[in-house]
């Protein structure tokens, strides 16, 4: 009898430990009773946004590389001009921009009364410092190589005149670079800018908190506080929304959004404004052979990828350019390669791989859409004899090994544009560009690119951009797939979400409909 009781007790203990083990897991996603829910936050006029990856180690806007970092810090920093939701550049720290008739010089008038988050006024010194910091080529390639077009900068009272070597229609887009206070050396950890939100705190791997900047020069943000919560797993993000811990999550998949109740959430659809592709390391065998790359393109059915992994959402692409770029976007390239298994096999045989080969796709495992895409691709490539191994890696090792170290064979990722210049997407395929992580090297492309750098006629430049795009498609630089649909889950009551042609989330326009003064 005693034994039985003991056994029963043991079973009970085991059961308890199992339960707590399961409970422990949910710590990943914010749940539990103590977490304030959506309605609590509506009353406090704040929101919590779920993001799938931690920000760059340094929050210095001039050094940040990850799109996810810019997405958040867009609310903290501003340039002389800044993009609006239609892709136009509107005056920000400069109240007025005058372009000389020949396009050879720009005059910026500093806005009166613009303050940094630390309370200091923005001076001409700060502006010059910020531009020079990005143009400085004393330590190798400058942060923004395109700024080499600046011949001279003269400051007079509150007017800055920038004279260019030659007219450059892209120049203004670079003036979105963040203006930072000159004598401040803690941008890495406690960034200070002029945006509608100021940085409050950051807990690595956990969260980042922004607060409304009371002295903002323009229309103030409507929310008092925005907390970004890092949850590096799609399921955790979903749980966070369902449990009430999160109010808004961008970049969700359709499988995920379909699990959210329509009573609590609204799903808004935009485009991600990035080029999702199976990026190939062009320097690595067998992808150094153009026929192999083309075979891959012929093996893939983009529309089917969208149907299988994205419920049909998304815009198929054929080159490194997405529709938000307007005249630079050549839609006809999308169908340059249509799925043709026989042709793919023939090309592989011609390249010396009649039986296919093994390849590895390195995918950041925190991005479910990319993982799903890789899985669908592996099935399609398998049909032409290419055996795919998917290697899921952490976001940080993806950044350091794949993007930084270029130690990969292929990867599925979305590449965004940091500003609305064609250069932002195409510059990385110039053979010696520091961000040419696919090691693309094509003499014709390089020649076109160099020519474009010295072309200041709008139409001629556009034509060169289109030729570069076509070059990437013809040489199958990568297996281009799509500009992903951006499905954003927004808690009911939260309004004002705006989609930009850039990878940013404008928190200043968001507000709780119930609490907003109308």
């Amino acid at each position: 009898m005693k034994k039985k009781i003991l056994a029963l007790l043991l079973v009970l203990c085991l059961g308890c430990s199992l339960l707590t083990a399961c409970g422990g897991k949910t710590n990943n996603g914010p749940t539990g009773k103590d977490t304030p829910t959506g309605s609590d936050r509506a009353a406090a006029n704040e929101i919590t946004v779920g993001i799938a990856q931690d920000l760059d180690e340094s929050l210095d806007p001039h050094k940040a590389v990850a799109a996810g970092t810019k997405e958040v810090m867009f609310n903290v920093f501003e340039g002389l001009v800044k993009p609006d939701k239609d892709g136009n550049l509107i005056p920000a720290i400069a109240s007025e921009v005058n372009v000389a008739e020949d396009g050879g010089s720009y005059t910026f008038t500093l806005r009166d009364g613009v303050k940094f988050h630390n309370g200091e006024a923005v001076t001409m010194q700060d502006v010059l410092y910020s531009i020079n910091r990005n143009a400085d080529d004393s330590a190798g390639e400058p942060l923004i190589p395109a700024l080499s077009v600046i011949a001279d900068m003269t400051a007079e009272d509150n007017r800055l005149t920038v004279t260019l070597e030659q007219p450059d229609s892209d120049f203004l887009a670079y003036m979105t670079l963040a203006i930072l206070p000159e004598n401040y050396d803690k941008q890495d950890t406690a960034p200070v800018g002029t945006g509608p939100f100021r940085f409050v705190s950051r807990t690595a791997q956990d969260s980042i908190v922004l607060e409304r900047f009371a002295d903002y020069w323009g229309a103030p943000a409507k929310l008092d506080r925005v907390t970004y919560k890092v949850i590096e797993n799609a399921q955790g993000l979903l749980l966070g929304l369902q449990s009430g811990a999160l109010d808004l999550v961008s970049h969700l998949g359709s499988t995920q959004t379909s699990q959210l109740s329509e009573k609590d959430f609204r799903i808004e659809e935009g485009t991600m404004n990035l080029v999702q592709a199976l990026y190939l390391n062009n320097a690595e065998k067998p992808f150094d052979d153009v026929r192999v790359r083309q075979a891959l393109c012929y093996a893939v059915d983009k529309q089917a990828v969208l149907e299988l992994a994205f419920d049909g959402y998304g815009h198929p692409l054929g080159s490194s350019m997405f529709p938000a770029f307007g005249r630079y976007f050549d839609g006809s390239l999308t169908d340059y390669y249509t799925q043709d298994t026989e042709k793919a096999k023939a090309l592989l045989a011609e390249a010396g791989y009649p039986d296919g080969f093994d390849m590895t796709v390195t995918v950041p495992s925190n991005y479910q859409p990319h993982m799903d895409t890789a899985e669908v691709l592996s099935e399609m490539l398998g049909a032409v004899g290419i055996r795919v191994t998917i290697l899921p890696v952490e976001w940080s090792s993806w950044l350091s090994d794949v993007y930084g170290g270029r130690k990969f064979q292929s990867t599925v990722i979305g590449v965004d544009a940091s500003n609305l210049t064609a250069d932002a997407l195409l510059g990385r395929f110039y053979s010696t560009a520091s961000n040419n992580f696919t090691n693309y090297s094509n003499a014709e492309f390089d020649a076109l690119y160099e020519q474009a750098q010295n072309t200041f006629d709008e139409d001629a430049y556009t034509s060169l951009v289109l030729q570069m795009e076509k070059n990437l498609t013809e040489n199958a630089a990568n297996v281009y797939i799509q500009d992903m649909a951006d499905l954003v889950a927004v808690r009911k009551g939260l309004a004002g979400l705006q989609f930009y042609p850039l990878y940013v989330l404008d928190a200043a326009s968001l507000y709780w409909a119930d609490t907003a003064v109308s």
């Binding site: 799903d372 998917i390 890696v393």
Partner: protein
């Protein structure tokens, strides 16, 4: 020898294991559909006659994938136990039989390995061996399994080493290796066999756990553990996915457990 008592554990366990083995080995032949074929129009279908376990979010037949996954899981578990048992038995035999300084040193090393949480140790091994490969997973899990077997087998070898049959073998001039493998090893079987079945079950669960954490079998390969982790994301949309795959794991572990229990009863009667 009297007729043995009928042993339902052994019979039922054996039949189930045989069925699983047949499915794992010949599963590809039974498989109603290509386990990797995706169908855009057939996503997340509930179980039906065409799709016994329903379909996953790519429209793949879960039953076919479970069959393929069973093969992977079976192989990983068997290989893991083999590595653990062979190296564990060797270590246990040497240290148990000879004793001395080597025994003390090896056993302290063993203690050190045991002190690490198993998952952590496997994680370390996998990151050293290179993730994403089935062989890494097997080696890592095998490594984690060695200390347990070594400890168990050391005791099994140490206790009878002064018994009469060992002493007489020694008197007859038998060398250490012969004594260990011919005289002692058969005597340790009552300890080893149940440990093998328990180890197999632990390995199945470990593979499931590792793949669940995303460090074991990687897509598009199917394994029961990976499928279960995938199913977790769709608990609301496709509850049958988790239930079916989880059910298969439970049944497999149950079968091997029964078999082990049967073996043990048989040896003690």
């Amino acid at each position: 020898m009297a007729a043995r008592k009928s042993n339902p554990f052994l019979i039922l366990g054996g039949v189930l294991i045989a069925a699983f083995l047949a499915l794992a080995v010949f599963g590809a032949l039974f498989s109603p559909q290509d386990p990797n074929a995706m169908q855009a129009g057939e996503k997340l279908l509930a179980p039906s006659l065409t799709h016994l376990f329903g379909t996953d979010r790519f429209g793949r037949d879960i039953f076919s994938r479970a069959l393929a996954g069973l093969g992977t899981t079976f192989f990983v578990a068997a290989a893991t136990v083999a590595i653990g048992a062979v190296f564990g038995t060797l270590t246990g035999a040497l240290t148990g039989y000879y004793g001395g300084v080597a025994d003390a040193a090896l056993m302290r090393l063993n203690d050190t390995l045991t002190a690490f949480p198993a998952v952590l140790l496997a994680l370390l091994a996998i990151s050293l061996l290179g993730p994403g490969k089935e062989s890494s997973l097997v080696l890592a899990l095998g490594l984690v399994f060695i200390p347990g077997y070594a400890r168990l087998m050391r005791t099994a070898f140490a206790s009878p080493s002064n018994r009469a049959f060992v002493l007489s073998a020694r008197l007859m001039g038998a060398k250490g290796a012969r004594i260990i493998f011919v005289q002692l090893l058969p005597n340790t079987l009552p300890t080893l066999l149940p440990a093998l079945t328990i180890g197999f079950n632990n390995a199945v669960l470990a593979e499931a756990g590792m793949s669940f954490l995303g460090i074991g079998v990687t897509p598009p390969d199917a394994s029961l553990g990976y499928m279960l982790s995938e199913a977790q994301g769709m608990l609301a949309a496709a509850p049958w996915y988790a239930a079916c795959v989880g059910g298969v794991i439970v049944l497999l572990v149950f079968a091997v457990g029964l078999f082990g229990e049967g073996l043990q009863r048989r040896m003690h009667t």
